[in-house]
Symmetry: C2
Amino acid sequence: MATQADRTRRPFVLEEAVAILSRTPATLDAVLRGLPDDWIRAHEGDTTWSSFDVVAHLINTDRTNWMPRARIILDYGEARPFDELNRSAHFVESRGRTLVSLLDEFASVRQNSLRDVATLRLTESDLERRGGHPALGVVTLRQLLATWVAHDLDHLMQISRVLARQYSDEVGPWRAYLRIIREAHG
Amino acid sequence: MATQADRTRRPFVLEEAVAILSRTPATLDAVLRGLPDDWIRAHEGDTTWSSFDVVAHLINTDRTNWMPRARIILDYGEARPFDELNRSAHFVESRGRTLVSLLDEFASVRQNSLRDVATLRLTESDLERRGGHPALGVVTLRQLLATWVAHDLDHLMQISRVLARQYSDEVGPWRAYLRIIREAHG
């Protein structure tokens, strides 16, 4: 639990989580909208994702993961484990799309997700309700919603890293000072 | 060097670098403006930086690092090594400030920096001009400008990570899936 002096942990507060989640579409817009397509489609090699892929994935997870799983917890608890996610569905869903249309769709999908959150009028005791994750076992609604926030930020970090690493060679000796480039893709 | 098929490296193109650099103020605004102060001031422990510190640092580096060093390269070449940077100057500069005033200042400082870039009308041969880094030795203007871009993205990554890690405990078992939380601070 966070104490007043601890600046490395925040307790989950629904309004704060919503404040962060509501910012993500505008953040992705600011970073990506209008960038040359070669940058949008750049990735970290092999089967790693591009910024385009990440936006498509965030649309997919708002549709299939966060609020759908929240509803399963509220309606069934542990009696009905979550459905498995398809972590490559967004490749099919985004085929032939433009980044602009994905960014617009994400803004709309996220707005709907957060409207659904508000409609539920979740109480502290709702947040402690438990569900069954197919691999991780028992989880709470509070953990699910905190993970939604961290997942957004994880993918914002990924986009920053994917873009920066395009200049891994161009930065020359400064590579040694740039953690974003220096650290191996794990 | 990037080839047409290589999506993991982009060659340095000034217009593209400027396109990314010009986005950073709006990106930081989207992520941070209006967030509760406890989030803005959150950090990763010990002497690590908060999001507030990062914005102050970006103002400082636009003022003292990127374009000042570019001018030293263009005016003196290797004959005059860069001045050392003061990596903690921003702590003093930002004392008593609000995040909103720092975000406004960063937008203005960055706009001025990019106006200065445009005024120089840099050619490909300018980009190959060399300067002397006090620790790294010979560097080119091209490397300096590429590093400016990667440095912005490195700090955007840092802000994402600082915020996400506040929920390191709250995500519960999902911690195992979240690279942003799982990986130790290095």
